[in-house]
Symmetry: none
Subunit: 221 residues, 2 copies
């Protein structure tokens, strides 16, 4: 689950980044609007955390450019003061959520989780597919009611596949979501990871669509 963090205050960015990693997200951090615009336009993020006061290119302008270019990823806006007119402006510019500084790190994480979930069309924090239940708040996984221990990377893979259950997810997409941008392209790390998750959650749980990617079936509903 890859997040773009746009924040020029290095200290704040560091603590947010740390919290994101601890919560199981991978993140890229940029400090100015120009670079944010470029990355948002070229990479594929599950969500963006966007500070409004930025050097070089203002946050709202970046957001409008993204939306103008058809980018759909959810955006959470951070700003120093909770001026309500600014909130409306931000939301109408295409933001999906708004958080005034100062904020509790827990709240930021909850909102990011909610955004990612919602963008994946999955409003509940507990996802269930084929006997596997994943609680995104507690970061726990059970299979047929039995707790299963997944390593962080395994958890991220299972989580992403479940959030996109019913859709084939390519290796490239997984690589983008699970690793930072400078990861070596032709590695079989994903295959190995899939193998490890299969061993824990059942070999049939992740299906292979040869030549296209992987798929987990959603529960009927």
């Amino acid at each position: 689950m890859r997040i773009l963090l746009v924040e020029d205050d290095a200290r704040l960015a560091a603590s947010v980044g740390q919290a994101l990693e601890a919560a199981g997200f991978v993140h890229d951090w940029v400090e100015d609007g120009e670079r944010a615009w470029f990355l948002g336009d070229t990479e594929h993020y599950a969500a963006v955390i966007l500070d409004l006061g930025l050097p070089r290119l203002d946050g709202l302008s970046v957001l409008r450019r993204w939306r103008g270019a058809g980018q759909r990823f959810p955006v959470l806006i951070l700003t120093a003061r909770g001026e309500w007119s600014e909130r409306v402006e931000g939301i109408d510019a295409g933001a999906d959520d708004y958080l005034p500084k100062p904020f509790r790190m827990e709240e930021l994480l909850a909102r990011v989780r909610a955004l990612v979930r919602r963008a994946a069309g999955q409003p509940s924090p507990v996802i269930e597919c084929g006997g596997v239940r994943l609680d995104t708040c507690r970061m726990t996984v059970t299979r047929d009611g039995v707790p299963v221990h997944l390593s962080p990377q395994e958890y991220r893979l299972a989580c992403y596949l479940m959030q996109h259950a019913g859709r084939v997810v390519s290796q490239g997409e997984l690589t983008e979501q699970l690793y930072a941008q400078d990861f070596e392209r032709d590695s079989n790390a994903i295959e190995v990871l899939v193998g490890r998750v299969r061993r824990k959650l059942g070999s049939e749980w992740i299906q292979t669509r040869r030549g296209f990617g992987y798929l987990v079936e959603p529960d009927a509903d």
Copy 2:
């Protein structure tokens, strides 16, 4: 666009209702959690505005019940105090957004608009022609309900023909679609491919227009 408003303060409900109507929404108003739960489960809403402090059945419980029952509509939570732990709890219970009282009516409307916009559905990813059903998300194909396995290239061919059902598609066009530009011109690869697909999906399914190309019939509708 129908909105469910769950709010026990009659005065506030009236002014929110008025604002919603002015913004072009139709709304139903209920005052207690029991009735809210019932309506949310039986009617179909574009979004729900949910107050947390409710008589008879608490707002968070209502939300959890809805989500437990698989209801997907976006929910915006209202609550009297901006207690951060409550926000986290609400969002993790499956809410899509959160607004502390007191709030500006404009901000509420902006958020509701954003929620409705985001929840708007996508077109169906399933194509069907002559008993063959192709799911572009799962990349699966069934014939008369029976799953059929197609290789990547076969899948692409079937997909392209179905997307252009009712039209004759030439071999040249198929070559352009399925292969890189430098593909050898006088190869019978397409013919072989068509043959393989026919064996799996029925020999009549792809018709030959000698000298022109291939054709699959669209379903009448």
